[in-house]
């Protein structure tokens, strides 16, 4: 994945898109029975190396989840949460404002920062979560189907936001929505699930520039999936 680009993961349900994404900031370490083979290199360092602290990894590689998940605290504290984790003391209000502006939420919430984050609508909550994630200025932003719980208009806003954010952050996004991948992603990875050998094994079929993947896929599978012949 290239710096300053958006990479999309597409593929049918259960092919391991989310799992692959969660490997990138070691969220899967929390899952019982999870085992990792291979390497994930981040700025020339293998984040699965024994000496690496997963907590530190997650501070540089932020994450936005499928379901908006603000904390049960005020909007302001939600965004300031990550800053406080990192013991940032200086100009917290300015950083909170910058993050909320970055997530295109500032104008809607600037008068009610003390209200609970849970009082916002779904789309606003998701943008709050994005604001929370970018408040600590991570290098990479992982987004696990960030729009699947949102209506089309909110989805649109998040997509616009993503294209704005890629100026500063590298983004990896999992999506079920092919059009979304086409609209926002620079590169797209198509994954598929193999059930022929019993069990379910997800694998990567094709990884290409988005335009090329959608217009002229090399693999037959990709072609069929994009045309909607199976799901």
């Amino acid at each position: 994945m290239e710096q300053g680009e958006i990479t999309a993961f597409i593929g049918p349900s259960g092919c391991g898109k989310s799992t692959a994404l969660r490997c990138l900031n070691r969220m899967n370490d929390l899952v019982r029975g999870f085992r990792f083979d291979g390497h994930v290199h981040f700025r020339g360092k293998d984040i699965y190396h024994r000496s690496v602290d997963p907590v530190a990894v997650r501070r540089y590689i932020g994450m936005v989840f499928q379901q908006p998940n603000p904390f049960a605290m005020s909007i302001y504290n939600n965004v300031a949460f990550g800053l406080r984790l990192n013991r940032v003391k200086d100009d917290i209000p300015e950083r909170v404002e910058r993050a909320l502006r970055g997530a295109a939420l500032w104008d809607e919430v600037k008068d009610k920062l003390k209200n609970s984050g849970l009082s916002l609508s779904g789309g606003q909550q998701q943008r709050l979560c994005i604001a929370r994630a970018i408040a600590t200025e991570p290098t990479v932003l992982l987004m696990d189907e960030p729009c699947s719980a949102l209506d089309p208009i909110a989805t649109r806003r998040i997509e616009e936001l993503m294209t704005e954010l890629k100026e500063k952050y590298t983004i990896a996004v999992v999506t079920h929505n092919l059009q979304q991948a086409q609209r926002v992603a620079d590169k797209t990875a198509f994954m598929y699930v193999d059930t022929t050998q019993g069990g379910r094994t997800g694998y990567l079929v094709e990884y290409e520039d988005t335009n090329r993947l959608f217009q002229d896929p090399k693999e037959e599978f990709t072609k069929q999936y994009i045309r909607g012949e199976f799901s």
Binding site: N25, M27, L30, V55, A56, V57, R58, R59, Y60, G62, M63, F65, Q67, N69, P70, F71, A72, M73, S74, F81, G82, R84, L85, N86, K114, S116, C129, R132, A133, T136
Partner: protein
């Protein structure tokens, strides 16, 4: 049938055409949609609903009759001197039980100081760190057993462990006995409310690079606070009303816990529950009245603590 007819006309506007329409439909073999008590299952359902209502009201009778009785019998003596005076001796009238109120609050306070941190930290372990470990299931089992623990045994235990060791009846001994009764309630309710914290909130915190400690302190405990507070309140209410464990441990006293400006913690200590127990068995009218008044005050204290807890937790949630 009269019943269904009146339903019919009430349900539809006075518009005569509409009524006409319904009637002509009713003539055709159209399913009857009106509610009618003639149907056995409607009757059965209404009967059962009614019964739940009646039983609910009946269940409240003991509570309210006790409250009314307390207010009637105990209200007579209610006054400021109850809070400022110490109990009268045998043939005296007047007096109060201020020392017992202070004693109860002190011992419940000591008990809460022990049981709340222990219970909540143990609950964090049970719910977060090792929910499936052997230790956790053993602890959970013990806690459940302990909720049904006869309170007098807690007193006997504290007698053996503290009173015999220190050689005196004391407020800490009473507090320790009460904490044994509080601990399982705090522990189990705290575990439940920690489990209720949505997983996605924990994931959010972890995804932002929070350590396990930070997740617990900054997300789980604040979010679970209202539930845990409810548990603490329940436990406090139970402990405040316990008599048996205090009989062996704090005994009773006619003096203030602060004597001549000095805290007499390691002395026998008065408590409302023991005072009620003692005074209700004596043949003196004044003492019996005091026992009633003490019962009322005890109920009020528990009520105030409960309402305070509710308000606190509601404030937390709204924020």
């Amino acid at each position: 049938m009269n019943d269904s007819d009146s339903n019919n006309s009430a349900g539809i506007d006075s518009d005569s055409e509409e009524i006409e329409l319904t009637r002509s439909f009713a003539d055709v073999d159209f399913p009857r949609l009106e509610r009618s008590l003639r149907h056995p299952r409607t009757l059965f359902s209404s009967g059962l609903s009614l019964m739940t209502g009646i039983v609910t009201v009946v269940a409240c009778i003991p509570l309210f009759s006790v409250l009314i009785m307390l207010m009637y019998r105990g209200g007579k003596r209610l006054g400021l001197e109850l809070l400022t005076e110490t109990p009268p001796s045998a043939f005296e009238s007047g007096g109060g039980f201020g020392n017992a109120i202070v004693g109860t609050l002190t011992m419940v306070g000591i008990a809460a100081l022990i049981a709340v941190p222990f219970g909540i930290l143990a609950a964090v372990f049970l719910a977060e760190f090792g929910p499936k470990s052997k230790t956790a299931s053993a602890v959970r089992f013990c806690a459940k057993l302990l909720t049904g623990f006869p309170s007098i045994l807690a007193g006997v235990f504290a007698y053996a462990a503290v009173v015999l060791l220190t050689g005196t009846y004391s407020a800490p001994a009473g507090g320790i006995a009460l904490s044994i009764l509080m601990l399982p309630i705090v522990l189990l309710t705290a575990e439940e409310s920690i489990k209720m914290v949505p997983k996605k909130m924990k994931e959010a915190a972890i995804g932002m690079g929070a350590t396990q400690t930070q997740v617990v302190w900054k997300v789980i405990l604040p979010t679970a606070l209202p539930g845990m507070l409810t548990g603490v309140m329940l436990a406090v209410a139970r402990a405040a009303g316990e008599t048996a464990p205090l009989l062996f441990t704090a005994l009773n006293s006619n003096y203030w816990i602060v004597q001549d400006g000095e805290l007499a913690l390691m002395e026998p200590t008065a408590s409302l529950a023991v005072l009620i127990f003692n005074f209700s068995g004596v043949p003196f009218e004044s003492q019996i009245e005091l026992a009633w008044a003490a019962a009322l005050v005890l109920v009020l204290i528990v009520l105030i603590i409960n309402i305070g807890g509710q308000l606190l937790s509601r404030k937390r949630v709204l924020r």
